[in-house]
C-alpha cells in the first residue's frame, strides 16, 4: 500500500493505454573513436513505451542499450532521428524531459560524504522540491523504503542493499512519470535484486512508464510486457516475450535472443 503511495497517483495510468510516453524515430548515435574511426552505437532505432507497462531492452554488453537510454535522458545528443519523452522532444527541451524522468542503474553511486537524508534533500532540491512538498515526499520515501534506521548515516557507511534503497528513493522522489532502469541488478545479490524487481513491478502497477535494460533473460521474462532485442546498435526483434519466442521459432527467450542476435555456437557472434 505504501509502495503504491510513493510511486505516485495513477495519473499516468489514466492516460490512454496507447499514450506514448517514450517514443523514438530512427534514432541514431555515432561516436568518433581515434582507433576505430566512426562507431555507430545506435542505428535507426524506433521504439514506443507506454504508461503502466514495462518496456524491456534486451541486449549483451555493448549492444547500445546504455547509449539509447542516455539519449532518452538527454545526457547524449542524438546524431540523427527524433526522441520524445513525456511528449517533449529531448533535443528541443532537455530540461523538461529531465524533470519528468527518474534514472537508476547500479553504476550510479551516491555521495559518500553525505548522509542518506542529505542525498534526498539534495536531489529533491535539484528537482524543485522544497519546504512542505519536499518534507512530504521525503517522509513517504523514507517510510516506504524503510530508510529510517540509517537515514543519518553517511552513504559511505551503508551496505550495498541500503545504498540501493537510497538510490531508489532518489529516483522516485520527484514522482516522475517515466522511469529508466539501466541494468539495475548488475552486481547485486539475490535479495537486493529482488527488492529492485519488486519496486519495478510496483512502478508498473502505478502507471509509470518503465524502460528496463537488461541482459538477464529471467528478469526480462518476469518483468517485461514489451521486449526489444538490440544488438550492435540495431533492433533485431520486438514484441511480447511470447511473440519474440514465436518470431525466432524457439521455446525459450534465451534461445530466441541468441537467434535474433545472430549468435553462432563457438562463442563467435556474427
Amino acid at each position: 500500500m505504501r509502495r503504491a503511495a510513493i510511486l505516485g497517483p495513477r495519473k499516468a495510468a489514466e492516460l490512454k493505454y496507447t499514450a506514448r510516453m517514450v517514443r523514438t524515430e530512427a534514432l541514431s548515435k555515432s561516436f568518433y573513436d581515434p582507433k576505430k574511426g566512426e562507431v555507430r552505437a545506435v542505428v535507426d532505432v524506433s521504439i514506443e513505451a507506454h504508461p503502466g507497462r514495462i518496456f524491456g531492452l534486451l541486449g549483451v554488453n555493448g549492444a547500445g542499450k546504455t547509449t539509447l537510454l542516455r539519449m532518452l535522458s538527454t545526457v547524449l545528443r542524438p546524431t540523427s532521428g527524433r526522441a520524445e519523452v513525456a511528449g517533449v522532444d529531448v533535443v528541443a527541451d532537455p530540461g523538461r524531459v529531465r524533470a519528468s524522468i527518474g534514472f537508476l542503474s547500479t553504476s550510479t553511486a551516491l555521495y559518500g560524504r553525505l548522509s542518506a537524508r542529505e542525498v534526498l534533500e539534495y536531489f529533491g532540491g535539484l528537482y524543485g522540491l522544497q519546504g512542505e512538498a519536499l518534507r512530504q515526499r521525503m517522509e513517504l520515501a523514507i517510510e516506504t523504503l524503510r530508510l529510517n534506521e540509517f537515514l543519518d548515516r553517511l552513504c559511505d557507511k551503508l551496505s550495498t542493499g541500503q545504498k540501493q534503497r537510497v538510490s531508489i528513493a532518489r529516483t522516485i522522489l520527484h514522482d516522475p512519470p517515466v522511469l529508466f532502469f539501466d541494468e539495475p541488478t548488475a552486481g547485486l545479490d539475490v535479495m537486493n535484486s529482488q527488492t529492485i524487481m519488486e519496486f519495478i513491478e510496483g512502478a508498473r502497477q502505478n502507471g509509470k512508464t518503465v524502460i528496463f535494460s537488461t541482459h538477464i533473460m529471467s528478469e526480462a521474462e518476469r518483468l517485461c510486457d514489451d521486449v526489444t532485442v538490440i544488438h550492435e546498435g540495431t533492433l533485431r526483434g520486438r514484441g511480447s516475450v511470447e511473440e519474440l519466442k514465436s518470431q525466432a521459432g524457439e521455446t525459450s527467450l534465451e534461445k530466441a535472443f541468441l537467434k535474433l542476435a545472430d549468435y553462432t555456437p563457438g562463442g563467435v557472434s556474427a
Binding site: 542516455r70 545526457v75 529531465r98 542503474s105 553504476s107 550510479t108 553511486a109 532540491g125 553517511l154
Partner: protein
Amino acid sequence: MKLIQHVFSKELREMFRDKRVITGAFLGPVILIIFLLTLFGFLDKAVKEPSIGKIGVVQGGEKSPLIQALSLGLKAEVDVVPTLQEGRQRLRQSQVKILFHVVPRKIEGAAQEGQEMTAYFDRNEQVALIAAQAAQAAVQKQNSVMVQQSLQGAGLSPDLSEPVMFRIENESASRGLGASTIVSLLPYLIIIWAFYGGFSIVSDLVAGEKERGTLETLLISPIRRIEIVWGKFIALSIVCLLSSLSSLVGVLIVGILPIGLAKTLFPDGIQMGIGPILAITATLVPLVAFFSGLLLAISAFAKNMRECQTYLTLVSFLVLIPAIFSQFIGFTDLGKATWVQFAPILNSSVVIRDALLNKLNGQALLICMAVNILLALVMLRIVVRMFHREEILVRT
C-alpha cells in the same frame, strides 16, 4: 541562482567532511609555515649569535685583548695550543672550528706595539666563516681605536682616522609584518596555497564524479550545466581562499608562540594595516578564481581521478615556477617592469609583496586584478564548454 547555491552548499559540506581537505588545505599550510618560520628563526638566530664551541689560539696569543673580546662575543671557549702545527692538526680533526695565531708586530712611530693576527679555518664551515668575519670586524674596530689614540698623541684630530664616514638609515615605510625578513617568503606561500588548497579535493569534483557515476545522476536532473559549474566553482574557490589565508594564520601562531622566535622574526610585531589587508584580499580573490577555474577545467577534462592527478602534477609546475621566481624578485628591479604586471602569478606575488612593504602601486594592483579576472573568466568558459561536450563528460 537558487540551484547554484544548492550545489554550492552540498559541495562545501562534502569538502569540509573530507579529511584530505582539512589536513591538506587547512592544517597543511598552518603546520608548514610554523615549521618553516621556526626553522627560519633558528637559522637567523644562529647567524646573528653563532655558537662556535671552541676557538683555537696558538700559545702566547690567548692574552691578546682581541682574543678575549672575541671569545666573549662568540661565547666560545679558548683552546690554547702549543704550536701552530698542533693547532692546524686540531683544526683538521674538527676539535676547533677556527684557529688564531697572534704575533707581535712593531710599527714604527706607533704609540704601542701592533699585532699580526691570522685566522685559519675551513671555508666550507659556515660557523667558522662567521667567526672569521666577526674577528675581522673586531680587528678593524680595534685598529680604528689605536689610530685615534696615535693621532691624539700626536696632537691631531681623532676624526682623521675616518675621513669618510658611512651611515645606514632605514627609510622603510613598512611596519609590523612588512618589516619582517619573511616578507620575501610570504607572498610565495600565500600564492602556493591558493593553488594547492584546491589540489586535494578538485579531482573528486568532476573526475571523481565521473568515475563513481554520480555525475550522470546530476546531469539527468533538471539543473542547467552552467549552474553545476558555478556551484562547484564557488565552493572550490572558498576552499582555495581559506587555504591561502591559512598561511597567515600560521604566521600569527608563530608570532604568539612562547618559543622566543617572535622577536627574531618580527622585531616590529606582526600587526598589519587595513590598506595592505585590503590590497592582498583584492589580489587574492581574482587569483583564487583563476586557480579554481584552472583546477576545475583539469578535473572536467580528465577521465578519472588518477588521470586528473597526473594532469594536476604537470600543471602545478606552471604555478610553482613563477611563484618560486617571485621570492627573488626583491633582489632585482623587475617588480616595476610592465611585463611583470601582466605576467600571471608573478604579478600577484609582486603586488602582495608591495602591499606588505606598504609600497602599493595602484596601477600594478589594477592590472593584476584585471589579468586574474580575465583568466578566471576564460577558465570558467572552458569548463562550461566542457560540461556541454558529451565526449568529455561521459567518457570514463
